[in-house]
């Protein structure tokens, strides 16, 4: 099989398609059509749209106007700042929590491990809309609200959690931290189970403590997992939309307007499609740059 194929190439019949080629194209046809129409075309279209001002009866070319507007708008910088704050407080902390929980689940038997995995994963099954609705009521600003009445027991006076610009962002972060880390815990646990026990036996012989084993053996060995979760976590966090849209609407005074919501508002509230496309492309570049940076900083000794 191999020989005939390479012979074909060497005799200059490069562009003659074999039966095998045709089968390949037939098998990927549907996937590729969907891919072209719903990914390739929109990306190209977004690029051109970003240089246009949208009008219902034909858009007009405006050059770099949308990009200029973006970089001179204070809301743009504010939303980037909000996104950064949200990311810095949620992603690393959530990784720490997940890692610790995974370590704690480790000593149990398989069945008990599965039980804990299920318990921690359950919130991930519920939709973002449903969870937002629930948290909206937990943060009810009235003194009878759940969180407020709970804190009243400790003598803390009433807080307008989502309605005040001091606490709105904190509330969204707290929700993200409590809303569950099931996926990350399960992925960490799988990585932990892959650490060869011979390493621990050797460490035991050297008299290593539990924390030393975690620090010098476990952490370096699960580093690829950490990197994976960090990069995907940051990417997800930069695109976050649901909680701000459902719970605060970006307010008060844009204290919780993040990039995802800003783009959404520009596109579907103000019908400024060109501006939204320009900002979405900027977001894509920022995400790509941050991901690359993370790989560079952390990934030097990580093999993929």
């Amino acid at each position: 099989m191999k020989k005939t194929a390479s012979l074909n190439y060497s005799t200059g019949k490069k562009w003659r398609l074999t039966g095998e080629d045709m089968w390949g194209y037939a098998f990927i046809a549907v996937a590729m059509i969907v891919f072209c129409v719903f990914t390739v075309y929109p990306v190209i279209s977004a690029f051109f749209t970003s240089f246009e001002k949208y009008k219902p009866l034909g858009s007009t070319f405006v050059g770099l106007e949308n990009y200029k507007t973006t970089f001179s708008s204070s809301l743009f910088y504010k939303s980037i700042w909000n996104t950064l704050v949200y990311t810095v407080f949620t992603v690393p902390l959530s990784l720490c929590i997940s890692f610790i929980v995974a370590i704690l689940i480790l000593p149990f038997k398989k069945k008990v491990q599965s039980l804990f995995k299920s318990m921690y994963y359950l919130p991930a099954v519920a939709s973002g809309v449903a969870l937002s609705v629930v948290w909206l009521w937990i943060y009810d600003p009235l003194p009878t609200g759940l969180l407020n009445s709970l804190l009243a027991n400790f003598g803390i006076s009433n807080v307008n959690w989502l309605g005040s610009s001091d606490t709105a962002m904190f509330s969204l972060i707290l929700m993200a931290l409590l809303a569950g880390h099931g996926t990350q815990i399960i992925i960490y646990l799988a990585a932990l189970l892959g650490v060869p026990s011979s390493l621990f036996e050797a460490a035991d012989l050297d008299g290593a403590t539990f924390l030393q084993k975690v620090w010098f053996i476990v952490l370096p060995l699960v580093k690829p997992t950490t990197l994976f979760l960090l990069v995907t976590g940051v990417i997800g966090s930069f695109q976050v939309f649901m909680n701000a849209y459902m719970m605060t609407g970006g307010g008060p005074d844009n204290a919780t307007t993040m990039v995802g919501l800003m783009i959404f508002n520009n596109a579907f509230k103000y019908s400024d499609y060109g501006l939204a496309c320009a900002q979405a492309l900027i977001l894509a570049v920022v995400i790509a740059a941050i991901s690359l940076l993370q790989f560079k900083l952390m990934g030097e000794d990580v093999e993929y």
Binding site: F27, T39, P107, K117, S127, G182, L193, T225, G260
Partner: protein, 287 residues
Amino acid sequence: MSGLYSQHLNRPWLRWVRNGLIALVLILLAAATLFPIYYMIVSSFGAPVEAGGASYSLFPTTLTLDSYKFFFDFSPYSARWLLNSLIVGVITVLGNVLFASMAGYAFAKIRFKGKRFLFFALLCAMMIPYQVTQVPLYMLMVNSLHMDNTYAALVAPTFVTAYNVFLCKQFMSSLPTEIIECAKIEGCNQLQIYWKIILPLSKTVLAVMAILTFMNSWNNFFWPFLMTSKDYMQTIQVGLKNFKFANTTYFAPMMAGATISALPMFILFFSLQKYFLEGVTIGAVKG
């Protein structure tokens, strides 16, 4: 299990105490995580009165289904929202299981020209944030094709996802090539190989993929929200959002609505736990 923890072989009671304490910590943490869901379900059985008169009790004080009735009475299409979500989910799953597995098989085992480039392009597509494609897709569907408020528009963009093609390719690459070569010698064509050999061998991974795809489709909010301006075509998540913004003071009915939107997924999760949990790691390990 693992050598990270001392087994305390000489003092087994110590191991019991330690594991007991760890379990206690884990249960407390899990309780904090599960609390919003517990609160949601418990409160949904409250009476559908405006929030001023409602009490946010942690334990069920009343047990009435009136709030559920309130939610279903909100719109004549409330029940249809559930049906719409189901229809969209099932079609999306069928599309992905069939066509993502075909593409995955081709990328894994068939030698064709341009394979590496096309696969690389698919991988790149996974890195693009959805905000980039959203506006042009919206304009394409609504302004050019006038396809809004159709099932086709709801399903089409996720009919075959790059992620699922990638998953299938990863799994099918691990299948032995010898079987395929043998089948070829026996006179099978690629379609027969795919149908009779590859699909049966990939059952587990396809089941996992189907479940995760269904869950994502059911919980998807953004795209159905953009595509459905008409009540009767909305999915349950969009409906719940409408309900939320229309009845901002009705506590128990809102919880009932949230429960309704989440319950099918909970039931699915409890009946197919193994596949769910497997699905989490399947894309991450060696990703």
